[in-house]
Amino acid sequence: MRLYPADTIRVGAAGLRTRPLRVVLSALGIAIGIAAMVSVVGISTSSRADLDRILARLGTNLLTVAPGVPIFSAEPARLPTEAVTMIARIGPVTSVTAVGDIPEARVYRNDHVPSGQTGAIAVLAARLDLLGPVGARMADGVWLNEATAQYPAVVLGAAAADRLGVAESGIRVQVWLGGEWFTVIGILDPVPLVPELDSAALVGWPAAQRYLDFDGHPTTVYCRADEDQIDQVRSVLAATANPEAPLEVDVSRPSDALTAKRATDRTFTALLLGLGAVALVVGGVGVANTMVISVLERRAEIGLRRTLGATRGQIRSQFLVESLLLSALGGAGGVLLGIAVTATYATTQGWPTVVPAPAMAAGLAATLVIGSVAGLYPAVRAARLSPAEALTAP
């Protein structure tokens, strides 16, 4: 006669209920393994979700154009002054802007700072439409306008302001830039897609030409294009920016760099997944051990159940169900623990918490596989005892 499924589970659970401490300890082994795997997957997924969130906000359609390595001349490569106008004529390009590096210009907190202690701050001439395409925002003050771009006014990147010790902008806040006093009219928030702006001092294009001997050639052109046609735009960008020497132009996509940076986390992930797998095996051995001992010390119970009419198959499934429940308990605990670890870590990093459902499902599936493998041998052994043998066991 077959047992009702509910009774099969009830009998298996009864074996666990009477030995709570042992159950907790052997489930813990499984739980640690599953928690390790779930949290590794969860943490890397959360990190990726954070990256995706940043990219979604910033856009992945930003392309930068910069002068490359000169091929035929000894002169450094330069972009033509008309590069911005020409790129703007490419159909799918939605916006375009540029900065021009002024390598000779230095910026200091005041005129007493010894020359050379620049804090690695670059002075850049900036077009008035810079903020939109690069996704920059003002932390304080205002951006350059038609008027301030003519005069000695400067907007500092976040890191540059920090290094100069400028906490806020204002009419009385001035820095010593290229031998002139420049008024700090604004400070930028960090710009994740274009981190070089963080350590830059940005002055107006006309002011740079007037006060700092700027040659008017852009050194980096930033342009945004339709997401769908980004590759086509990319292929014509070099020739458009510098028709005379397209090979001397570098075109890149900053979001690729961000993605690549996060990709280096993956080796670490593989290592931790390996550790999690080892923990799982150890947990499985723990469950098998518990079940083997359980069979040894419960021979009398097995004998009694046989006298009550239990078949070999029913004894086998009792012990199999018991080990499955034991591992499932560990697996569920492990998944919860993994979620908790992920949530804690993601929160401290300011990431969204994401634990992919397939990872949780795989964790639970792994425990069921481990449970059945670990329980099989003890279950077969329990069923093999003849009833009389089992009963007369000490």
């Binding site: 006669m1 209920r17 009694l304 159940r305 009550l308 009419g309 003849s386």
Partner: protein, 227 residues
Amino acid sequence: MTPVVRLEAVSKRYAGRVTAVDGISLSIGPGELVAVTGPSGSGKSTLLHLLGTLDRPSAGSVHVAGHDVSRLSDRRLSDVRAATIGFVFQQFHLAAGVPAVDAVADGLLYRRVRHAERRRRAVAALTRVGLAQRLDHRPHELSGGEQQRVAIARAVVGEPAVILADEPTGNLDTASGAAVLDLLHDLHAGGTTVVVVTHDHQIAGNLPRRLELRDGRLVNDSIVDKR
């Protein structure tokens, strides 16, 4: 009348050439109350295991409720055991921490009876053995005699045709032992076949039929009517 249990030239040899039961033939009819006696090592327990289909004979045949045990698969044999035989042992075999009513309900577990129905019948069986007030007590909260009565309730809850009791009073004091024997007598009076293995001659003497074993052989099968 078909016998409940019939043995024909049954022997049981264990590895190491120990012959525990040697060519026994007997038959026990419905409603009998039988004592199996003999000194230690005479094969009483082995005989009980053979009667109860817990062991298969090395030679000869065992018929229980009309079934030839040697021809049944493990599954069919288990069904026969579940439906027709109730066991009572010297050790009570009650799991620690399990309330009496659940232990008794387990007696019906392998007979495809629903959980609620099992409990209902377990309560009835415990009431029958006089433990209606002890339903939720765990083994450590019960005296030895009470524990054995729980074990008897578990054996009879499925209303088996035959009860096999192996030294049921062996671990009990005289008063508790007497209560347990009274219970077995009551079951017999209710129509159940009861076989009691005991080395206590006084107990054996009070039962209508006695089977006496020595060195695995049946040396005496007497029907003693004390009335």
